[in-house]
Amino acid sequence: MPDEESRDGETESISRRDVVVRLGVGACALAAAGSAAVTLDFLEPKVLFEPQTTFVAGAPLDFADGTVRFNREQKAYVIGTAGGVYALSAVCTHLGCITRFRSEQRMIACPCHGSQFDLEGNVVHGPAPRSLPWLEVSENASGSLVVETRVIVPQGKLFRV
């Protein structure tokens, strides 16, 4: 139909077949996108049976100046100083191995790739790119120290005893 085609010289004419094909392709694309979204949502676990992220470290008086306690399950150190108590993540910032406190050298070392940290979490020796994060320490109703391993606090923020 030349009349229809020349009605608007700027835009090219679209046949009925084209419209139906594009509708079909569009519907399929929409369904595929929907399926992808639903699948992605399906793959995200909604309930996790993982270890709790908080733990009771003990009474404040247990942490005299120089005390370092390692909690294996929660992967954290709780360290007592003259000014107060702080908690340090024991997960190496390099690739996630669990570091160890070396009591004779008073430092923290990673067995996987040899990173070393001081007791404030600063990197003494690579390859770790960042210092160990400080974790939130608070007090519960019975006066015991509670560490929340998911909350990172600025370095130097002591829990005053």
Binding site: L40, L43, E44, L48, E50, P51, H94
Partner: protein
């Protein structure tokens, strides 16, 4: 006239319904053997004799494929004795080694074939690179090859977690920490990959499904396209000089 059993079978209606071409040793029939077989038709019907020589390609692609075949066939019996759960996975691995008849052979075969496949696939890539066989018209097959290398490495890596020993656990801790470093979506990918925030039973199950279903299917599809493209792109290309010498 005595007719041999083999030729009676080949002449039977059942056999002829499966294999249409005749049994006579003509060039046409030899071509039909390849043409009319689903598994063989990905191959070229005719190849030059010199391209079959060991020094032409060092058979690296074929050896990689043979490794993949060993891994597919040998992996299935291993699955009969393996539960992807904690702590059963580690016990099953030990049971395979010390209790199951030929279990240690199958496990070691799977392990060594996996190591060999990664090594030979890399050598195959080097061979293709130095023979300049990645150039047109084979450029797309190079891309397929890169995807195959990726699938091979991922298969190797997901298989690493399955014994659930110290090496596995820390290997996967390290690997998924690397994933976390991807910009913006790293944390998200790690969460989906592990099915949680820590390397746990969820992670073991996810790696198991990836290792036994998702990645093998992907590899099989890609290998099929890869071999078929070799045929479509004019057969294997060896050293560039060898081609020119034979040109009239």
């Amino acid at each position: 006239m005595r007719v041999s059993l083999a030729s009676r079978v080949r002449g039977s209606a059942v056999y002829r319904s499966i294999v249409r071409h005749g049994t006579t040793a003509t060039n046409r029939n030899r071509s039909l053997v390849v043409f009319e077989n689903l598994f063989l038709h990905v191959h070229p019907v005719k190849v030059r004799e010199k391209t079959l020589r060991f020094t032409h390609t060092f058979w690296l692609g074929g050896i990689t494929l043979a490794c993949a075949f060993i891994l597919f066939v040998g992996g299935i019996p291993l699955m009969f004795y393996y539960h992807p759960s904690v702590p059963q996975a580690y016990r099953d691995m030990k049971e395979l080694q010390y209790v199951v008849d030929n279990g240690v052979f199958l496990r070691n075969l799977h392990r060594w074939a996996a190591h060999a496949m990664v090594l030979v696939a890399v050598l195959h890539m080097l061979r293709v690179f130095y023979h300049r066989a990645y150039r047109p018209p084979r450029q797309f097959n190079w891309v397929i090859g890169v995807l195959l290398l990726l699938a091979t490495l991922l298969l190797s890596y997901t298989g690493y977690l399955l014994p659930w020993d110290q090496l596995s656990l820390w290997g996967v801790s390290v690997g998924t920490s690397m994933v976390k470093e991807a910009p913006f979506i790293g944390e998200r990918i790690r969460f989906y990959l592990l099915g949680g925030n820590v390397v746990s039973e969820n992670a073991l199950l996810r790696f198991y499904v990836l290792h036994c279903v998702v990645l093998p299917v992907a590899l099989l599809l890609l290998v099929s396209v890869h071999v078929w493209r070799v045929r479509k792109d004019g057969g294997v290309q060896g050293p560039a000089g060898a081609e020119r010498k034979n040109e009239p």
